[in-house]
């Protein structure tokens, strides 16, 4: 497999092209995995926060915090085309709205 050359991209004009390049090289997986990683970091971080305070874990609030933070991250990624597939972006919107409804109904 031959990777596209970095010199042929617009990296010197726009640093976001580095992400676009990474996404092209990995066949569209880079944007998805970095978003999933961000979600997991926030999700586990909120859970650890619950544990460190000695409280019971409220999973729906962890979901809401993680999905909302991920939505902000995905919005930044969507400001440049070619990094995050729009399908994944709308999945994040769906998860955020469903998490909000879960918190509202469950509390």
């Amino acid at each position: 497999m031959t990777y596209p050359e970095l010199n042929g991209t617009l990296v010197r004009d726009d640093l976001m092209e580095l992400f676009v390049y990474s996404n092209v090289v990995t066949g569209g997986l880079f944007g998805l995995f970095i978003t999933m990683g961000f979600f997991l970091v926030v999700f586990i971080g909120v859970m650890m926060s619950y544990i460190s305070r000695g409280r019971d874990i409220e999973i729906e609030k962890c979901m809401l915090a993680a999905s909302f933070a991920t939505l902000g991250w995905a919005t930044i990624l969507e400001m440049s085309s070619g990094i995050l597939n729009p399908v994944y972006f709308f999945v994040i919107i769906g998860i955020t709205i469903l998490s909000m409804i879960w918190v509202a109904v469950g509390d």
Binding site: M79, F90, V91, I97
Partner: protein
């Protein structure tokens, strides 16, 4: 579930906040991406973000229309007592109707965004069915609360 959230009114308050918050969230996402990347794929008709934002904004316009109507009627040259009486009755029905309209179209706008997102990802019909049942129950709750508010006279206070 704790007992604080049980009951029609707390549930409705929470869900109204969800609708309002979703509106702000969608507006923020739409506007910020539209400024930075107007040619983004997420504005295509496949995903429905345009439709849901437009329908939410049009329902918010209903509040402005109601307000304009009432101010216009108050500002008439020769308002009579009958006009004011009629205005009170009209307001008693218009305002709940506008809230109901906002709730229903907001739910519709959320469904327009959620369902295309879930449909293509293989999350399965169970999620879709569960969401449909949940949204239907929310709708029935909104209608029941509006009927209750009108019957008990809470909307006129």
């Amino acid at each position: 579930m704790n007992k604080k959230g049980i009951g029609l009114r707390p549930m409705m308050t929470n869900l109204s906040l969800v609708l309002l918050f979703s509106f702000f969230m969608l507006s923020f996402v739409y506007t910020s991406i539209e400024i930075q990347n107007p040619n983004s794929d997420i504005f295509s008709d496949t995903y429905g973000l345009n439709n849901s934002k437009n329908s939410m904004e049009s329902t918010l316009g209903n509040f402005t229309d109601t307000s304009d109507n009432i101010f216009n009627q108050i500002a008439e040259d020769k308002p009579t007592a009958v006009d004011f009486l009629f205005l009170i009755f009209k307001g008693a029905f218009y305002i709940p109707w506008t809230f109901l309209s906002f709730a229903i179209t907001s739910l519709n706008a959320l469904v327009v965004v959620i369902f295309p997102a879930l449909a293509g990802t293989g999350l399965g019909s169970i999620t879709t069915t569960a969401t449909a049942i949940m949204l239907s129950s929310i709708l029935v709750t909104i209608v029941l609360l509006t009927v209750k508010a009108i019957r008990t006279g809470e909307s006129e206070r």
